[in-house]
Amino acid sequence: MAEWLSRDEARQLADRVLALSKAEGCQVNIGSGSGGNTRYAVDGISTSGDAANATVTVSARFGKRAASVTTNVFDDDGLRRAVETSERLAQLAPENPELMPLLGAQQYAAVPAFWRSTAELDAGRRADAIRAALDVVERAGLVAAGFVERLAGAGAVANSAGLFAYHSSTSAVHTLTVRTPDWRGSGWAGTAHNDWWRLTRPATLAERAVKKATESRDPVTLDPGKYTVVLEPTAAGNLLRLLTFAMNARQADEGRSFFSKRGGGNKVGEKVVDERISIVSDPRDADLLLSPYTGEGLPVEPTVWIENGVVKNLIYDRFWADKQGVKPVPFPGGFRMRGGNASLDDLIAQVDRGVLVTRFWYIRGVDPRTVLYTGLTRDGVFLIEQGKVTRAVRNFRFNESPAAMLNNLVALGRPERVSASESGGVEGGGAVVVPPIVCREFTFSSISEAV
């Protein structure tokens, strides 16, 4: 068996499991693939790893009773044990009144998200990429810590009602943080795509981080307060994905969300942010390339979440959609926020006085009522005066809501795909495409001495 299953192999495996099932209904989720990663830091390459795995999750159901068992042991005994255990657990489970019937066969969009260039990125080629980045950093007399990761895999969903869905994809990411040897400056750069060759080249990426590290030395300390900010796409992505996480219809309808409407219901149809804001998702979007189906095999359709500032859709699971008499709306993980054509430099040129932010860090929810989050700036914060970046600024802690931020919008730039997860690895949920954003009255609540 290859490290990732072909469509036929996945179907055969699913059929083997379904044939073993004695439950009233059975769903099989298959994951397969391999990951390779290499880290580098003070002494060059530190650790690396290559691992392949494959899993089968069997979900058995008897009426409204259900349970699932996951295993990575695929011999006949392993699969039989998983099927039997799932059936035993399901029969012991109380009824779940919200359990929805299995979906029958569905149609899915084809999403070509698999690149050989990424699948074949072995340890040697990762080391070559790192050598290229380190050459730039070492020539500048600086120190880098970075990460190259690739994933290649295929997944499938099948059930006893005749559904079968299959999708294969690759992802690659390269992020690095460059520091001055005296730790007075730090700069970050990152790049992500399904296709390794579409990532920013290592030397270019390293040059970007070197520039930020060099320019971030000797920062001026600004007072905490409200500032006009220019968020680079990564920083914007860090915050905007938090807003999408809050877009759950049930939470809103239950009165425990920013998207709850006072007096009951949710804010679909209401304008919640500036009219220039539109957030959409389409699995086939060439910059997103998301899975075309959910874990239950529900097709993921192109969806408009916010259009011209108005909430168009919230996430409805199948139960809640059924209860509310609407169509289920799955969340695809990734999204695109529309923007304009302005480059980051164009945006900076429009700002009389403001703060340029490279990325955010340790972002945690403070108050779900207002989607209030706290976190810190990191690896490159700069003062903008009269349209120009003039000097480094000491890091800030913020307490701000992405919803409030999008109401204080000044301008949007050209969207790009970013590595928006704080961990700097392959995006867990899905790709994020966002523009650089300028907004006013962004709340920096305290100073951080961190570099």
């Binding site: 390459i45 349970a67 340890a123 990191r378």
Partner: protein, 523 residues
Amino acid sequence: MDRRQFVSTTAAALALPGVRLFQAPQADASIKALCLRALDAARQAGAGYADVRVQRNRNQSLSTREQQITGLADSETFGFGVRVLVNGAWGFAASRDLTPAEVDRVARLAVAQAKGNRRAVKRPVTLAPVEAVKDGRWKSPIEVDPFTVPIEDKVGLLMAANAAALKVQGTRFVSSSLFFVLEDKTFASTDDVFTVQQIYRCLPQMTITAVDPQTGDFQTRVSAEAAPVGLGYEWVTKADLPGRAPRWAEEAVQKLSAKPVAPGSYDLILDPSHLWLTIHESIAHPTELDRALGYEANYAGTSFAAPPDQMIGKLKWGPEFMNIQGDRSQVGSLSACGWDDDGVAPETYLIVKNGVLVDYQTTRDQVAWIQPLTGRTRSHGCAYAQSWADVAFQRMPNVSLLPGEQDLAVDDLIAATPNGIYIVGDGSYSIDQQRYNFQFGGQVFYEVKDGKIAGMLKDVAYQARNVDFWSSMDMLGGRSSYQVNGTFGDGKGQPSQSNAVSHGCPPARFKSVNVLNTGRTRG
């Protein structure tokens, strides 16, 4: 309300260090043979050092909301990983297929990877010595194996807890869950170590939400005092979610009408159910040695407690009575084990002694970095990998604030405080990448006036600078107020790995800390 009510039902303290012996796990002869084969294959391919970890991780999770089950899932993952050193460069490869041919292939792949990595290695890795272990066995001190407890009992307990919470007027939603983990691992290395361990962990949890339909306000209370531990089902029984749910539900409802805090400077009394997380973020993370030397700069960050030669014996972190211990031996703690993933028997040692930083957390490949400063020649035993597919690296052990000499209780701290806030349970948390500036919320906040609880507050978060905060600690609870809490979700590394870790502490008081009001006008 009687002050004692606030603390009488918090989790019973776990015992302080002391390893007990339990029924030893059995080694599988065929697994041992394959381990030795992997080591041979790695050596033959050119490895100077090799280790192999064969691991089966079993999880079970049950989740509910209100009076229905929302999830019941078992999962098991089995495989092995081979780690090698070739001329000072690491390599690691892993597979789920434990057969002789695959063991050979994976060992050779790890060696090939290490050889490839050498082109970008500047300082070769050296390993500190390790004591040989011919046949080591260790098992978590469980009384009841959670995987043998009937599902009906587990579901019944959660439903009873949910029902108890929903009986409280004003409670609208409740969710609860149980999560069990068993790491069954066999480790062998070319340094004559062979160990077999069974490590259990469990996490009982519930979240209660109260909604005020008039104002649209909602507040939640998480069962922060029901700690995750390295014990069996007996802990779930003791955690008594059904018995404690009514009080947590009442507190969720009370939060709706609690007084918004006036921002300003307050003396804070931090309950152990809260303080553990502040220790985790502000002391345990910055004393990870790889972080202090820049190895984690791209994600987890670096440390203000750096470089070590300017910090060891010099960084005055807090008062004389501040002692911070690293260990993997507190009975029932999440980090407890017999040997780490380097094959080292972990040590119990002080990281901060009498308020001064004296040591860091180390693995075998890190000892040499600070040996001239500490005089230590062996690893503290802090290597951990979350699964067979992940490479081991330095993870924090249990990092605990030791109790004070005087046996003060939280009531004594409250009684001695004219104007302060008592915080119970962990809430929101955020800290910068060098661990200077942090901001923490909590579960429940009480105004303290003239030595008495004066009522509940809401929208409280405190923000401070690390050393200023710890230096302001002026009262510390004693041994009988010491409690252990912790997390399954300590994240570090790229790709990010999860570590489970406990932090013990008594309650403590901190002077003049900056408190924010996090409430905002709602749309």
